[in-house]
Amino acid sequence: MLRLDGIEAGYGAKTVISGVSFALEPGQILAFLGHNGAGKTTTLKAAMGLLPLRAGQVSFDDQRIDRLSVADRVALGLRLLPEGRGIFPDLSVAENIEVVAARNAGANAMFSPDDVFKLFPVLEERRATRAGSMSGGQQQMLALSLAILGTPRCLMLDEPSIGLAPNLVERMFEQVRQVCKSHAMTAVLVEQNVAAALKIADRVAIMNNGQIVFDGSPDEARASNVWHYF
């Protein structure tokens, strides 16, 4: 489904990630872990087309997409929940969902506004609330809703659990897992909450200083001595 081949990217003169490769099967959940500043967000941005590639390839369904615009990649179903700023704070909850649905969720969409309201009933109660004035956890639920509205096929979640209470994290991740399994949707989950991420992951990749230093199953990850990378 999503495949990165030796990608390299950075900011200005600085190269931040290099030789990053992984390939995901439909329905697979990858926990993408690493210390602060390792280059996880940079990797997701490069896959999304928000940062130019300096080397390597990005493919989606065996098609190269690294020349496509961000909007075209989104249209294919590559979706990103960005780190810390996944909502339109000055709009109401209903308006947030309306504007994103209007551009992404057609008649045959996997997730319509009604579907996300069913997934997160609290958003339905908060329809008229200014999104930026909700609690951190409610904002993250809205951010996840915006990321899945329409027909996502590969969902990249950059630290979705920030600001969520521990039991909420588990519930939200469980929902992500069910959605992925029932819709053959792939997910890349960047997380600081390693334990919660490993619970739902099929695979683990660990990044250290811009390179992938481990790629394997959660059990292998637990058994090996990769944790000194954090």
Partner: protein
């Protein structure tokens, strides 16, 4: 009742300024461009309407055509100037200077094509005086200015909050990065914003000269006052910008009771400084 007359004059000026302020604010909030050339679009609208009226086009038709020309001008400035600069990732300062340059060119072209001298609309009805109660006299042009300005204010609020395009534009203003990755196409939204704002600013651009006549450099003072109204009203608030424009115009007018007219720009800046000192986020700032 001089005070009452000044109060009414203040409402007229304030409403026209308010429309300049809300349209400027709409652009600034969404694109973060300090669109000084907006003053040029404002001036252009007046001249186009004047030219059409002189050719015998009925006033309403002249205004409508002037709006169309202003929309085209706004689209041109956005697509040929601002969008290009944004693609090259130029700084805000470069964009501001480009905008100032555009304003200068527009003023010079207008002065060359028409004349640098004052031009007046040949519309007898506009300067006919209506006697309101309490010895207050307003011209039809002034009455029309108030009505049209309030309609434009309500119209822009309705557009921004009730239409899908308006909501999309507010979303782009609220989080441009997220807008990019949810396919809201910020650049297209910026183009629409510029077109809408140019249409809106054309209205005071035609109404105000009905009373005061046209001059190529007339747009600058209203724009300056409008930016102050935007900042004092709270960047991002359409209502704040409009209300503050009316307040500033009232204070300017009522100050005439006590101090000479040359001080009115000084009054404006005095208000500005007071706000910067005591409420730098503006009166109607959205809570963050």
């Amino acid at each position: 009742m001089l005070a009452l007359q000044l109060l009414c004059n203040g409402i007229v000026t304030g409403c026209a300024l308010g429309v300049v302020a809300i349209s400027f604010s709409f652009v600034y909030t969404t694109t973060k461009i300090f669109h000084v050339a907006h003053a040029g679009v404002y001036t252009l609208g007046g001249y186009i309407a004047w030219w059409l009226v002189k050719r015998g086009v009925p006033f309403v038709g002249a205004v409508a055509l002037a709006v169309v020309v202003c929309v085209a001008m706004g689209a041109l400035i956005q697509s040929q100037l601002y969008a290009q600069l944004e693609r090259r990732r130029e700084t805000h300062l470069v964009v501001l200077i480009a905008s100032l340059g555009t304003l200068a060119v527009m003023q010079n072209v207008i002065a060359a094509v028409f004349t640098p001298n004052i031009l007046r609309f040949d519309l007898p009805w506009a300067s006919q005086v209506v006697h309101l109660g309490g010895n207050v006299r307003l011209t039809w042009a002034q009455m029309l200015t108030v009505v049209v300005s309030l309609a434009a204010f309500a119209g822009l609020l309705w557009f921004a909050h009730r239409t899908l395009l308006g909501k999309r534009i507010r979303a782009v203003a609220s989080n441009p990065f997220l807008a990019e990755i949810t396919r809201l196409e910020p650049r297209t939204a910026h183009l629409y914003v510029m077109m809408v704002a140019s249409a809106v600013v054309c209205l005071p651009g035609v109404m105000v000269p009905l009373d005061f006549g046209l001059q190529p450099y007339n747009g600058v003072t209203p724009l300056l006052t409008a930016t102050i109204a935007m900042i004092a009203g709270g960047v991002g608030s359409i209502t704040g910008a409009f209300v503050m424009a009316v307040v500033i115009a009232e204070l300017q007018n009522l100050s005439l009771l006590f101090i000479p007219g040359e001080w009115s720009i000084g009054i404006t800046f005095f208000i500005f400084v007071i706000f910067m000192l005591f409420r730098p986020t503006g009166l109607f700032a959205a809570g963050r």
